[in-house]
Point group: C2
Chain length 254, copies 2
Amino acid sequence: MLMPTDTFFTRRRTVRRYSGRQLSDDTLRELFEEASHAPTTGNMQLYSAVVTRSAEMKRRLAPMHFGQPQFQGCQAAVTVCADLRRFTRWCEISGAEAGFDNLQMFFAGVLDAAMFAQQLCTAAESRGLGTCYLGTTTYNAPEIAEALSLPQLVVPVTTVTVGYPDECPADPGRLPVEAIMHQESYEDFSDSRLRELYADKEAREDSRRFVEENSLENLAQVFARVRYPRNPTNASRSRLRLLYARPASISEHH
Amino acid sequence: MLMPTDTFFTRRRTVRRYSGRQLSDDTLRELFEEASHAPTTGNMQLYSAVVTRSAEMKRRLAPMHFGQPQFQGCQAAVTVCADLRRFTRWCEISGAEAGFDNLQMFFAGVLDAAMFAQQLCTAAESRGLGTCYLGTTTYNAPEIAEALSLPQLVVPVTTVTVGYPDECPADPGRLPVEAIMHQESYEDFSDSRLRELYADKEAREDSRRFVEENSLENLAQVFARVRYPRNPTNASRSRLRLLYARPASISEHH
């Protein structure tokens, strides 16, 4: 398939509702093949991905993704992981010790995983498939790791749901490029400039509806109080998650 | 431009040598516009990017990227950052407090930044530009943050160099898809299976040359001892970096 790149990205939409059209194993494998050519740290490919297609695994994982319908309804859910284990073990069986027990390398694995995931999405979308990232993967990383039998040094980073679209979502809108693009050094926006940059977003009809439905004053309050409220347990849970992801597991392994 | 998606990704190459052909500000802005439609957590766009084009900033940043020639020779270096500050400040001026002082949200920002960076690369490559990721950005994150005047809550994640190619790199090779694709649960490969999966990589002529040049026994040793040697200071430096990235900075801000 040929895609017009100047409009492909601006027209792409996250798709959460999928039709019953089957995604073949061959097509899924081709998507993996294409995505595996994404850039990767030192050509080490510090990632792996676990495909969930069976009804049994979907049932087991669904609550860890808070029952989101795009997980239930997709043709395949691909959980992309930072994987320092495969490389470390390859070194071990080659009489070499990979010194990857540091956050630097964990971070490299996270980036490798994200670059692969994003390439997988683009490869899928260019074939008319729809995709959606699930942020729940990092919320429930330890439980998901257990369900997918991830060994030490393999940490789930994100999950991409894939399927043929059964919806044509409206443009969700993005901030103007000036809000994200800084020349030579970071411009710490003044309050008035910040208001300007968010003005279009706040003026959208769906934004105003969210504000009204929640009886709040503005869109920022919808995000801060309803969609992503401060959670007193967040900080400690995050630390647990870090311990989980941390090289502690490497020393256990050795 | 139209791109054949089935071969586009498998044929893409990381490009480290750029010609003198100018990259216009307009084209760069278009790349940002396209990349800004990459998926993003809750449509919050928890990232920003700082463009380095001036000779002065290049000179200043070059040592932080260990003098890599692709940084010196590129038309633009784009340092992509997890940015929790813009969103937090937008909430503040809207009478809302963003509870983003946890690793969960930092992680969301890192993923948003990586998805944006990868979309930027694909948009650039589809126009005939070449790109290269610089892993040095996380090695020297604190110094780079200072050079780019990044305020608190803005953490550099990676840098993408962009320019028109002055080389046609050979295929660096990737592991077979079976090495990264797991069905339903993670398969912890046996030693012999692992050897099979790395066999083609080890048999490559460039791999054998690396081994010979370094007077080592095999490719894994080249990676573990020469390219990514264990560094006794890595662990502590990583911790410093985490503190740097951590919400400590948020509480200072409030």
